[in-house]
């Protein structure tokens, strides 16, 4: 989006702005009492300009965006302020008039593409609907146009794809459909509300490129809502930083990134892994082999202390429902060998479907490999069973991606953290209470949080609880399965710092599963890249990131948001 027309001309030059928001206040009705979430926000967007609002969850950025298009949830209402679009005051519109504005003048690209298409309707008609609703075209022509729009959005073989249902599309492809539909009526402003936060990094880049190309070509202004300053840095002409319902800083992208005036902006820049690629701790000494090539794929004899985990030639084949053509199988993991040393972090990188989570499940012995073996501290995990396996299990723990789904909503925080201790009959109740208090302290949660329920905690706090629970039995290995992917960038930075700190304290080994190389470079000693169930390459973080051997690894690296800004400003590495 760096090549939008607006960037060439001065933003305030050509008279009236396209959108002018002034003194916007929005409050939510919580238990009968109104609570203000947006406290008097004012900004402008010029025709053809790309403006990003950056902030963490709860900053009011999405509420602001939804207030502009009048799609606030039922318990929210704008209290005061005005929204003027192309000279017309939108706050005075009737219900009927709003229907003429939405889609026609202002489009919306949603946050979660997987849930934003009607599952029962073919995608072609769903795109065409944006045209027929506003009577821009009769049904038949609209259907034909929908195919063209889908093709423009980068959907190959659009003619036949238009006749398919949403579930037959991947997340990224669905987002392309939604982009086609949002831009169908050629609106002058499109609001993109975290359009890629649910997608893999490489897909994220393609989607953002797609939005940029289509809007630049048509001169559409874009309001990009994101929590990732790296994304904003790459894409926006101007950046607005929001915090707790207020704008703390606004200016051109170069100004905000190069010369941030507010402390919070500096904090966000530091948190964006792509913008500040510093390591959180030094590489573990003695872990990498002298030759520096330490290929994880080729386990060999090491020093006095053998690797903690050693996996050889893992293969996992799943049986799919049989069809008329006979039984079908899916090879999720094919001939993967790797090892995890004591005290090191091995990152397993790949997109959804690459088999990285299946590898983790095999290492955790949650699944049995079809062939191949896993040894933990010299002991064969694949052969262990019963009490022997149970005792081994306490030495490796896991933290999952969703902080919302992995805690029992009816357990207090203390109950959740103490659960593994109870399961293994560790200590007396008072010992356990003391241990829980110590664990909560270790993850930097106040002691009185033990009495709270998950619903009272934020996503980041829940993930701290999940980490405390994983550490309860003093494991040697913790598998972090996309453990920070669902978190806002700034919260993600805090959790990563916590993980690094705990690792040094307890000499933990981490298997860090992620699709995000920017995060990986901050925390891991070695990196293994997976695609389609196979291990493409592996080596020290430095060597893989600086001298990638595989084209796919290079693609992953270039997809990291904030990378372009980095190249221009030459921030210290």
């Amino acid at each position: 989006m760096t090549a939008t027309p607006a960037q060439d001309s001065p933003p305030t030059g050509a008279g009236e702005p396209l959108l002018k928001v002034e003194g916007l206040r929005v409050s939510y009705l919580v238990d009968g009492t109104p609570r203000e979430a947006v406290h008097g926000v004012s900004f402008e967007i010029n025709a053809g300009e790309v403006v990003a609002i950056v902030g963490e969850s709860g900053s009011g950025k999405t509420t602001t965006a939804h207030a502009i298009i009048n799609l606030l949830p039922g318990n929210a209402r704008p209290d005061s302020g005005s929204v003027v679009f192309a000279g017309a005051d939108l706050s005075r519109l009737t219900r009927k008039e709003w229907q003429g504005v939405r889609g026609r003048d202002i489009g919306l690209i949603p946050q979660d593409p997987t849930a934003s298409l009607d599952p029962l309707q073919k995608v072609g008609p769903q795109v065409a609907e944006a045209l027929t609703i506003h009577r821009l075209q009769p049904k038949k022509e609209a259907r034909r146009d929908a195919v063209r729009l889908l093709a423009e959005s980068g959907i190959r073989d659009a003619e036949s794809r238009a006749r398919q249902y949403p579930h037959q599309f991947s997340g990224g492809m669905r987002q392309r459909v939604l982009i086609a539909s949002a831009l169908a009526a050629r609106p002058r402003l499109v609001i993109a509300d975290e359009p890629t936060s649910a997608l893999d990094v490489t897909v994220q880049r393609q989607i953002l490129d797609n939005i940029a190309a289509l809007t630049a070509e048509r001169g559409t202004a874009v309001l990009l809502i994101t929590h990732d300053l790296g994304v904003a840095a790459d894409r926006a002409d101007r950046i607005i930083v929001m915090r707790r319902g207020e704008i703390v800083e606004a200016g051109s992208a170069a100004q905000v990134l190069g010369n941030p005036r507010h402390a919070y902006t500096r904090q966000l820049i530091a948190a964006a892994p792509g913008l500040s690629p510093q390591r959180l701790r030094p590489t573990v000494a003695g872990v990498t082999r002298p030759d520096g090539t330490a290929a994880a794929a080729a386990p060999g004899p090491t020093g006095s202390e053998g690797p903690l985990v050693q996996a050889r030639n893992l293969r996992k084949v799943f049986h799919l429902p049989r069809t008329a053509k006979g039984p079908r199988t899916l090879t999720a993991v094919n001939d993967v060998s790797l090892e995890i040393l004591r005290g090191e972090t091995l990152a397993l990188v790949g997109e959804s479907g690459s088999g990285k989570s299946t590898v983790a499940r095999l290492l955790l012995r949650l699944d049995k490999p079809t062939s191949g073996s896993v040894t933990f501290d010299g002991e064969d995990l694949t052969a262990a069973r019963g009490e022997r396996l149970r005792q081994l299990r306490r030495r490796f723990q896991v933290v999952f991606q969703s902080p919302y789904a992995s805690l029992d909503p009816r357990f207090t925080v203390a109950d959740s953290v103490a659960e593994p201790l109870r399961a293994f009959g560790e200590g007396t109740p008072s010992d356990r209470r003391a241990r829980v208090a110590g664990l909560l302290d270790a993850v930097h949660l106040p002691a009185d949080y033990g009495r709270r329920q998950p619903a009272e905690l934020s996503g980041g706090q829940r993930q701290r609880v999940a980490i405390a629970r994983a550490l309860a039995l003093r494991p040697e290995l913790v598998v972090l399965d996309e453990a920070v992917s669902a978190l806002d960038v700034s919260v993600q930075a805090q959790i990563l710092a916590l993980l690094a700190e705990l690792q040094v304290q307890d000499r933990l080994s981490y298997l860090f599963i992620s699709h995000d190389l920017a995060v990986v470079q901050q925390i891991s000693d070695r990196v293994a890249v997976m695609r389609g169930g196979e291990l493409l390459e592996a080596g020290t973080t430095e060597s893989v990131l600086e001298r990638p051997e595989h084209g796919y690894t290079r693609e992953l690296i270039s997809a990291v948001p904030g990378r372009r800004t980095l190249a221009v400003q030459d921030l210290p590495g």
Binding site: G103, Q111, A115, L120, E129, I133, S181, A182
Partner: protein, 315 residues
């Protein structure tokens, strides 16, 4: 596909056999058999015990349980459920004679129930006035709570006796069908409305509905173009239970309005321990359930494309 239907039919056959067997055992365990009930007059003119014994052996009631069961089951496989003890016609024929009346009643009742239920749900979801919405939404629980026979009696009182719009009893023509069908439809429509209101509410909160609204769609397009179809899916799952409701409702409705039909036949057959007829009815009811659930599963993919292709798409 053919394999799937074949497997389902086999399962269905098992259900029918189980229904037959269980009902056979229960009827056997009940005190008194058909002959003793036929013979039981008042104390004074009781029937000659020798005659009772003769009748018993004629119906095979004096044989041991397993023998009775095997003979009966073997005949049942040839659709011969025995002869009605009450009037001597074949049990299957007794049922077949009145079945069309009940089908008419159930079909009319079901159609009415779907119409009423959907109308109620749409009204509840469409209304912008909170009071109207809550009032409409509180109707279904009321419809479920009120006993069916009471609804029938109220309709009878008002429309037949007071307004003289419809006949009070009998099976003559469409006129006589209106009130029984309505009696049957009210509780069923309440169930449909209840399910649909909840499911519509949930559907309207889905992100894709917001996305459609963001295209500029009107409430009407959102409801009739998208939300209703999505909301109907969970209701479809309940179709089997709704059909069960209809059968149970038919018993009450046919009794209140003195209509012939399998509902009323069931009541008389059970009262007179007419085992052949009761068993025919039990197997029929089980067959209706089996067929309904098979139909539901077969039309599911037509309504929801995700189910149709789920097995194939993973390739």
């Amino acid at each position: 596909m053919i394999r799937y239907v074949g497997r389902r039919l086999l399962q269905g056959a098992f259900v029918l056999w189980a229904a037959y067997t269980v009902s056979f055992l229960i009827l056997y365990l009940l005190p008194g058999d058909a002959v003793s009930i036929m013979a039981s007059g008042d104390e004074q003119n009781s029937v000659d015990p020798a005659l009772v014994a003769k009748l018993r052996s004629e119906y095979g009631l004096d044989r041991p349980l397993h023998e009775q069961y095997v003979i009966a089951l073997f005949k049942a496989l040839q659709l011969d459920f025995g002869v009605s003890i009450k009037n001597g016609v074949a049990a299957t024929q007794a049922v077949a004679e009145v079945l069309p009346e009940t089908i008419k009643l159930a079909a009319a009742g079901f159609a009415l129930a779907v119409l009423l239920g959907s109308a109620l749900a749409i009204a509840a979801s469409f209304s912008r006035n909170r009071w109207v919405r809550q009032l409409v939404a509180s109707l279904p629980p009321l419809g479920i709570a009120v006993p069916t026979f009471w609804i029938g009696l109220l309709l009878l009182q008002f429309f037949s006796f007071r307004l003289r719009l419809f006949p009070a009893l009998g099976n003559d023509g469409a006129q006589s069908l209106v009130l029984p069908a309505l009696t049957l439809a009210i509780p069923t429509s309440a169930v449909i409305a209840q399910l649909l209101i909840r499911s519509l509410h949930q559907t309207l909160g889905e992100p894709y509905i917001e996305q459609i609204r963001a295209k500029g769609a009107s409430d009407a397009l959102i409801h009739f173009g998208h939300a209703l179809r999505n909301a109907a899916i969970p209701t479809l799952t309940m179709l089997g239970i709704l059909v069960g409701n209809l059968l149970a409702g038919a018993v009450v409705s046919e009794t209140v309005f003195s209509r012939t039909g399998i509902g009323r036949l069931t009541v008389t057959a059970v009262n007179s321990r007419d085992i052949p007829v009761v068993q025919t009815l039990v197997v029929l009811a089980a067959a209706i359930f089996v067929i309904t659930s098979l139909i539901v599963d077969l039309i599911y993919p037509l309504v929801d494309p995700r189910i149709n292709t789920a097995a194939r798409a993973t390739a």
